[in-house]
Amino acid sequence: MSRDMVLMTIACPEGTPGLDRAAELLGVPTAEMDRSFGVVVLDPQKGLYAVQVHETAIKERPTADTGGQVKGPFSNPRIEPFGPTRK
């Protein structure tokens, strides 16, 4: 997972979308999606999913009314142990 990927959420009430459908909802080409991350189920009851997509693709996509289906980008901060480590 590369740092130039950004974290986005999509709402898809009809069921878990594939990468193609997720890309369509985001308004970006499928090639811009992070395949290793895939489509992560966040809340199955609300049909809410997370994906990662190239930051440049999100910035360059045409302005479109997604009807609130797409949100992001979200922060993906570094996380560390709350205790000692050897390194």
Binding site: M1, D43, S75, P77, R78, I79, P81, T85, R86
Partner: protein, 442 residues
């Protein structure tokens, strides 16, 4: 319930006489109750003490002596529900609280271990939980960390069970559950096994990510998101075989600069709608018990990684309303000075930490012989082990995580300082699993 009270009574000749005799160490007949209302009982061992005035403004030095004092104080007990009866008696008798007091020790900031894992087991009354058969059997305990080293745990005398099928690793890390280098994750696993030696460990080395830009023992929140999503699928899938799932998280975001700036809609620290915070809520609603360490940014001796930020430092999922957030104390019950204090960041659950658990004791020795297990990193898995132990007799299908956490907080050993009830340092108090088990009839 009878409560201890301090009672002031108007000066009378016989009261002055008994006070004088008490202070001259001569024998005297204790005074009787100054009123029959309320069932007040006076403590005969407590001498009547001269009080110089009823209000500070009227205090005169001369009036502080037995011969001149207008009021005397005695100690007694009374039914709490009948205190108002005495107040209305109209005989100048007044009732005041006589709270239990204890010596407040400064938070511990030393490097030496305070006690051992055996002390922790004694404090948690684990022998009695063992007698009840509560040791984590058939409960899965996921360690979201740097990975577990089973050989080290065995070398410490433990007999750990590891479920290799459900364990998971980021795609760029070799998936070798139980065979990672001895480090923070092994310490956490050891600490969880103190109370739940029969649980099944699930190994999730999310802090081993080699994501570009990350330090060696770190990861990114997206690693945790993937791990939680995978675990949620397993937990809610048809092949799930455990009574319960407990997830320990001894990690977090040390400094706000790692996040988007305040006010950004995609920020993590104070945003319940961040994807990871949504994921945590989803898995908790599905019945998993999720525990997070509060952090090591306590005001007395914060970790250097806090960069001096010690206020509202409990943030993100560590301050999620559906998780149990752990502060840390030593085996003397003294708060560890690095343990992050509440209230949590605005926007998340403010009353964090929820609870305190033990840390800074000689345990896993994962960092060398004689090295203590430290940080809220240790407090969280100690508590997670307690939850797993209780869950071995109380599946989440019977009692939800929220109800169990509420009971754990209700049964915590209360810390009256700095104030009663929830407080910034200890939350609801120090974890005490035995009365929780008894409450649920285990």
């Amino acid at each position: 319930m009878r409560v201890s009270v301090i009672v002031t009574i108007p000066a009378k000749a016989f009261v002055r006489e008994r006070s004088h005799l008490a202070f001259s160490r001569e024998r005297y007949d204790p005074i009787a109750a100054p009123t029959k209302k309320g069932g007040l009982l006076v403590d005969p061992a407590f001498p009547p003490l001269p009080i110089a005035a009823r209000t500070p403004a009227k205090v005169r030095l001369a009036a502080s002596h037995i011969e001149k004092a207008p009021v005397f104080a005695v100690r007694g007990t009374i039914e709490a529900s009948r205190i108002d009866d005495v107040r209305s008696s109209g005989r100048g008798v007044q009732i005041f609280a006589d709270p239990q007091i204890g010596m407040f020790k400064d938070p511990y900031c030393g490097v030496e271990a305070v006690g051992t894992h055996a002390d922790v087991a004694r404090l948690l009354k684990l022998d009695q939980l063992k007698d009840k058969g509560l040791q984590g059997k058939d409960v899965a305990l996921a360690v979201m960390d740097t990975g577990i080293n089973v050989k080290h745990l065995k070398a410490q005398g433990l007999v750990p069970k590891l479920d290799r099928k459900i364990s998971w690793a980021p795609s760029n890390i070799r998936n070798t559950p139980g065979d990672y280098a001895v480090d923070h994750g092994t310490m956490c696993a050891y600490d969880a096994l103190i109370a739940a030696p029969s649980c099944s460990l699930l190994d999730f080395p999310i802090l081993q990510s080699e994501t570009p830009g990350g330090s060696v023992m770190a990861g990114f929140l997206s690693d945790a998101l993937l791990a939680f999503s995978y675990l949620h699928q397993q937990f809610t899938g048809p092949d799930w075989k455990y009574k319960a799932l407990v997830i320990n998280n001894s990690w977090g975001m040390y400094h706000p600069s790692w996040d988007f700036p305040p006010g950004h809609p995609g920020r993590y620290a104070d945003n319940p709608n961040h994807p990871f915070n949504i994921m945590v809520g989803t898995i908790a609603r599905a019945g998993a018990d999720v525990l997070f360490a509060a952090g090591n940014c306590g005001a007395d001796c914060p970790s250097g990684r806090c960069q001096g930020v010690t206020r509202h430092s409990i943030s993100g999922a560590n301050a999620h309303p559906d998780v149990l957030t752990l502060a840390a104390c030593d085996t003397d019950g003294v708060r560890l000075g690095y343990s992050s204090q509440g209230p949590a960041i605005s926007g998340m659950a403010r009353e964090k930490p929820d609870l305190t658990s033990y840390s800074h004791f000689l345990g896993s020795q994962a960092f060398g012989e004689g090295s203590p297990d430290t940080g809220t990193s240790t407090a969280s898995p100690v508590a997670a082990g307690c939850v797993a132990a209780i869950r071995s007799g109380l599946p989440s299908s019977k009692v939800s995580p929220r109800d169990l956490f509420d009971r754990i907080k209700a049964e915590a050993q209360k810390k009256a300082w700095p104030k009663s009830g929830w407080n910034n340092d200890y939350g609801a108090g120090i974890i005490d699993p035995l009365p929780v088990a008894e409450h649920f009839g285990l």
